[in-house]
């Protein structure tokens, strides 16, 4: 059975239908990368999975159980990190598990320290977000999301707000998580990265899954005309960078 099962997801903002009958599934340990133009619905899809948008209809099942209201189903890493500025890196990671009583204080602290260590920030645990670079803040945000032990970790354009020289450290962190066998969903504009991290790539346009397949299928042999055209444009931009 697939870990994630999304069935007929629909979402409108006013008159605009942003998601139309979106259905897909994801296996345990797979990495799904969602690509598509701005306004195509990829961020809305991610936000719906994480409960930040309420779908008009459809189902989201994680491990066969509806994801709604469960904090263990999804974790989300935001484009703008959204760290809590009044807390240190360590406190950012321990806050939610402490409130949710995920263990004793010592256990939570221990786990948070390990997570920060894993994202390469063992020397920054007592730094406030304002004392960290964008890339470091994003890695704290990843540790914070991991601390809640979500079954699926989502990333919403995790490097778009970063200077080019800082994206590498964040992308490397995500690649490391992949090696650990984490199930992840990544929305990104970085096509090179998409290719290297994805088991499955989904191209969304106008609220519809236009095409879904392995990176080879999608990048090298796209079936739909729309996908081909999008990739052509993306490739020009990518090579221009």
């Amino acid at each position: 059975m697939a870990l994630l099962e999304v069935r007929n997801l629909e979402k409108s903002f006013g008159e605009t239908k942003v998601l139309k009958q979106v259905s897909f599934s994801l296996e345990q340990g797979q990495v799904l990368v969602i690509i598509g133009s701005s306004g195509g619905g990829k961020t809305t899809l991610l936000r719906s999975l994480n409960g930040l948008e309420t779908p008009d209809s459809g189902e989201i099942l994680v491990g066969g159980i509806p994801a709604k209201g469960r904090s263990d189903a999804f974790g989300l890493v935001f484009q703008n990190y959204n760290l809590f500025p009044q807390y240190t890196a360590l406190q950012n990671v321990t806050l939610a598990p402490t409130l949710k009583k995920k263990g004793t204080k010592a256990e939570i602290r221990q786990q948070a320290t390990e997570l920060l260590n894993r994202v390469g920030l063992s020397d920054k645990v007592d730094h406030y977000p304002s004392q960290l670079s964008g890339g470091q803040q994003q890695r704290v945000a990843i540790a914070r999301a991991l601390a809640m032990q979500p079954q699926i970790l989502c990333f919403d354009e995790p490097t778009s707000a970063l200077d080019p020289e800082l994206t590498e450290e964040v992308l490397q962190t995500i690649l490391d998580l992949r090696k650990e066998g984490r199930t992840m969903i990544v929305v990104t504009h970085e096509m090179g990265f998409a290719k290297s991290v994805a088991d499955v790539i989904m191209y969304i346009a106008d609220g519809v899954i236009e095409e879904m397949g392995t990176p080879e299928q999608l990048f090298d042999h796209p079936e739909s005309e729309k996908t081909r055209s999008f990739l052509q444009h993306a490739k020009v931009e990518w090579e221009a960078m």
């Binding site: 994480n50 409960g51 930040l52 904090s71 263990d72 999804f74 974790g75 989300l76 935001f78 703008n80 959204n82 760290l83 809590f84 500025p85 009044q86 806050l95 939610a96 409130l99 949710k100 406030y128 977000p129 304002s130 004392q131 914070r144 999301a145 809640m148």
Partner: protein, 213 residues
């Protein structure tokens, strides 16, 4: 003579200080209540509260003071407030309305991502407010609140309108005796008081300066 004047002015300053402290004590929390009303989802309540804020902020505090002191007995023929209570009621209501707008601004400027980050981490609304948002709002409102506190120091002088013997009143009372300098001397009290507040607030601001998003 200097000692007599200083003693008299000090008596007045005690009144000034009482008005200041009681007004702060009441208006800071009352401002929160008014702020919640002015942001409430229930439209009639929101309109009503914003109307009240508009009236209070749009009319002179002196007028409100006179109305609150004389109003009840002249309009409704009921026993009104005593002088001091009337001052505290008028000042607290007036300042609470100003504070409510400062709070509203401080709250509205919190990025929506802060709320969303709390939500995806499974925190409840209350937890998000008290553990994430509140301190950031406090930081946001500190500078404008400092301004208002200093304004309040000087506004206390308005209470002489209904014959409260605060420091300006005491200073002025020496004019009858042909002395002007006691009135000028009251300025020292105000300056020292607002100086202390300025230092206090800048210390607080410094303390919260690590909070930067």
């Amino acid at each position: 003579m200097f000692a007599t004047v200083t003693l008299e002015l000090l008596k007045g300053f005690v009144e000034t200080l009482k008005i200041f402290l009681l007004t702060v004590g009441f208006s800071v929390p009352l401002g929160v209540v008014i702020c919640m009303g002015s942001m409430h989802r229930f439209t009639p309540l929101r309109v009503l509260v914003r109307g009240l804020v508009w009236v209070i902020r749009g009319t002179p505090l002196m007028l409100q003071l006179i109305l609150i002191f004389y109003g009840p007995s002249l309009l409704f023929e009921v026993q009104g407030f005593d002088r001091f209570t009337a001052v505290i009621v008028a000042f607290s209501l007036n300042y609470a309305c100003y504070f409510s707008e400062i709070y509203r601004g401080g709250y509205s400027s919190i990025p929506v991502g802060q709320f969303e980050a709390g939500r995806v981490l499974g925190m409840s609304k209350t937890q998000i407010f008290f553990r994430v948002i509140l301190v950031q709002v406090v930081k946001n409102v500190l500078a404008p609140m400092g301004n208002e506190f200093i304004t309040l120091v000087k506004d206390t002088a308005l209470s002489r309108t209904i014959a409260i013997y605060e420091v300006t009143y005491m200073g002025q009372s020496f004019i009858k005796k042909g002395l002007l300098w006691p009135l000028l001397f009251t300025g020292v009290f105000y300056l020292l008081f607002s100086g202390v507040l300025t230092v206090l607030f800048s210390k607080l601001e410094k303390k919260l300066s690590y909070i930067r998003s």
